[in-house]
């Protein structure tokens, strides 16, 4: 922890020099919060499944000259309206990683859709981690959809092979009245990547927010997704699919906060946990007293493929209103033996049958996506992930 504070104190001028004043204005408070909070131990409820301190312990280089080119394309630093939202959802006092990111981040990508505008094509942001030495990257994304605006955002994360990477990303999403925002986040990195993503969204009356995260490959992944339904009739749909093997670890931690009446939330996370990998899902749905007529469904389903693989699942429903319709549930199981046998009777080998059934399991999440082209791409990526041996990093390692 000290290395990050020390870096901040000693490099402050250079950090500020390459950044927008709005970002700089938030640093001091963030540093104070980070110093006070420290990295969360596994005794902290929301971090109990992931060892943060160990992930942040190594010495990573931090680039001070800004980040990737692809970010610049969507960047519009002199957007005072959008920037006035910066840091208003991501509370540095509540979370050390958010504080650390806010303390060090040098660039913010802004997606701002003015009132009533419907973006026809999805906005694509691809992050490719390149480096010849271990690298830490701190990223920030700010999405502001004004009333009635529609936007779809596709995030891709990749990384150069054979290098250690650590990323933090804080995303703030403002879904205005009647606005629709969809974010599809695909991680295809490798076992030497550690990623900590925090997403905070606020959905105004009649707004709709969809967030889907696909962890196709990676090392250590922690995605925290906090959504506030703050206006009447707001909706959220959270989706997640994680495919893990080797020593991989994926932790999705979500909070859906029903603050207004007549809101709807849906949540579906599925994991296929293989070899010695570990998965964790904790999803808290909070229905406040004023959130009457809440309609909420949360489901987490998991396939655990070996005796060494581990899955922790913790759906939590906390209800303070009386007129609500809520359900939540989780399952942990293996492939259906009858289905497996049916396929084999028809001549499909055991390995192929298993692949087909795993793909089928994951496809439920993919099929929730309204974008046909993206659905096809994800089906293909998932198939490749389960099937390909030539590309398989485990085989490559020997």
């Amino acid at each position: 922890m000290n290395q990050y504070l020390e870096f901040f104190r000693t490099q402050r001028q250079r950090i500020d020099g390459n950044s927008h004043p709005v970002l700089n204005a938030h640093r001091e408070a963030a540093a104070a919060a980070f110093e006070r909070l420290g990295f969360p131990s596994q005794k902290v409820e929301r971090y109990k499944y992931t060892d943060v301190a160990t992930a942040f312990a190594p010495n990573y280089g931090i680039s001070l000259s800004g980040t990737t080119d692809s970010l610049r394309k969507t960047e519009s630093p002199d957007n005072p309206l959008a920037l006035s939202h910066y840091g208003t959802l991501a509370d540095v006092d509540a979370d050390a990683i958010t504080a650390l990111n806010t303390m060090l981040v040098q660039e913010v990508s802004i997606i701002h859709i003015p009132a009533g505008i419907h973006r026809e094509n999805p906005i694509q942001v691809t992050h490719t981690l390149h480096s010849t030495a271990p690298l830490m990257q701190n990223r920030r994304l700010l999405i502001v959809a004004e009333a009635g605006a529609h936007v779809q955002v596709l995030l891709n994360e990749r990384a150069d092979e054979g290098q250690d990477f650590l990323t933090t990303q804080v995303t703030e999403v403002f879904v205005g009245e009647g606005a629709h925002v969809e974010i599809y986040d695909i991680e295809s990195t490798h076992e030497r990547c550690h990623r900590f993503h925090q997403l905070f969204a606020d959905v105004a009356a009649g707004g709709r927010f969809t967030h889907a995260t696909f962890t196709l490959s990676g090392g250590l992944t922690r995605n925290q997704t906090d959504v506030r339904l703050s206006g009447e009739g707001a909706e959220v749909n959270l989706l997640g699919c994680a495919i893990t093997d080797g020593q991989q670890h994926v932790d999705n931690n979500t909070l859906i906060d029903h603050r207004a009446p007549g809101c709807r939330s849906r949540e579906l996370y599925k994991y296929v946990v293989d070899q010695q990998s570990t998965g964790a899902f904790a999803g808290r749905v909070l229905v406040r007293q004023e959130a009457q007529r809440t309609d909420s469904e949360e489901r987490n389903a998991n396939l655990v493929c070996t005796d060494e693989a581990r899955m922790w699942t913790q759906p939590m429903l906390e209800i303070y209103a009386d007129d609500v319709k809520c359900s939540h549930g989780s399952t942990v199981g293996q492939l259906n033996d009858d289905a497996l046998f049916y396929l084999r009777q028809r001549g499909i080998s055991e390995a192929e049958a298993r692949t087909l059934l795993k793909q089928a399991f994951a496809s439920e999440v993919i099929n929730e996506i309204p974008l046909e082209a993206l659905r096809q791409r994800l089906h293909a990526m998932v198939e490749k992930r389960f099937r390909s041996c030539e590309d398989c990093r485990l085989c490559k390692k020997g």
Partner: protein
């Protein structure tokens, strides 16, 4: 084609098959009848290599090869097909992907090139006609949300695609309405050749009216206790099984 000798098998530690002997030759249709729980489905499952069933004694040869030494997929490739009594639903696996994977696995086993997508779809269309299977069903996940009768029709459609030499039909007639039964039975008859054979498990004469079995067997308590011609099935329809039990 198939020779079963003194076959004993257990499931869940309980002996169900207690010495089955059966010989099936090319071109023949054998009906297998018997009361609920007699072991008919157990015999089918043992033949196709279901891992829940353990063979404790006996041998099975299929076209001269040791059937029991093969994996379920090898048995399929060698020409064995089971139309399941209760076909399982597999959400998320499309009929098209399933059948293409199955057919191409068999072609690979036979040293043939895989069929490309368009050739496969064409073949699928042809085979669908044989059992008049609705296009809508083949565009869905395997058996998902199919009615009981649609599942059975789908089994024979799969049989039509895979062209097995020995088919076991485990109560394919149950769940089919009168018209569907005729269509499926006639479809099955179209697939027959002098090189194929079938074991047809049924409780009713109606299916046998269409399929015209050469031999009828009665399985009681894990053994074939009586074998006869088509008239045996008619007699069972009239008199039930008690008289056979008494004889045995």
């Amino acid at each position: 084609m198939l020779e079963i000798k003194n076959l004993h098998a257990t499931v869940g530690g309980k002996e169900i098959l207690k010495g089955v002997d059966l010989v099936v030759k090319s071109g023949e249709i054998h009906a297998l009848m018997g009361q609920n729980g007699a072991g008919k489905s157990t015999l089918s499952n043992v033949l196709v290599g279901h891992p829940a069933y353990t063979v404790t004694e006996g041998t099975v040869t299929f076209n001269g090869k040791d059937l029991l030494a093969m994996t379920p997929d090898e048995r399929s490739h060698e020409g064995l097909f089971l139309s399941f009594q209760q076909p399982v639903e597999i959400p998320g696996v499309s009929m098209v992907n399933f059948m293409r994977a199955a057919l191409n696995a068999k072609r690979k086993y036979q040293g043939l090139e895989p069929l490309d997508a368009s050739a496969f779809l064409k073949l699928m269309r042809e085979k669908r006609k044989i059992v008049e299977l609705d296009n809508k069903l083949t565009s869905r996940s395997v058996n998902e949300g199919f009615s009981g009768g649609e599942k059975k029709r789908n089994e024979i459609f799969q049989m039509a695609l895979l062209e097995p030499t020995l088919s076991i039909l485990d109560e394919t007639d149950s769940g089919l309405d009168v018209d569907a039964l005729r269509i499926v039975a006639e479809g099955f008859n179209k697939l027959r050749t002098p090189q194929t054979a079938a074991i047809v498990i049924t409780h009713y004469q109606r299916l046998l009216d269409y399929l015209k079995p050469d031999v009828v067997h009665v399985l009681i308590d894990g053994r074939i206790v009586k074998t006869g011609g088509p008239e045996l099935a008619l007699e069972i329809e009239q008199r039930g099984f008690d008289w056979i039990k008494e004889e045995a």
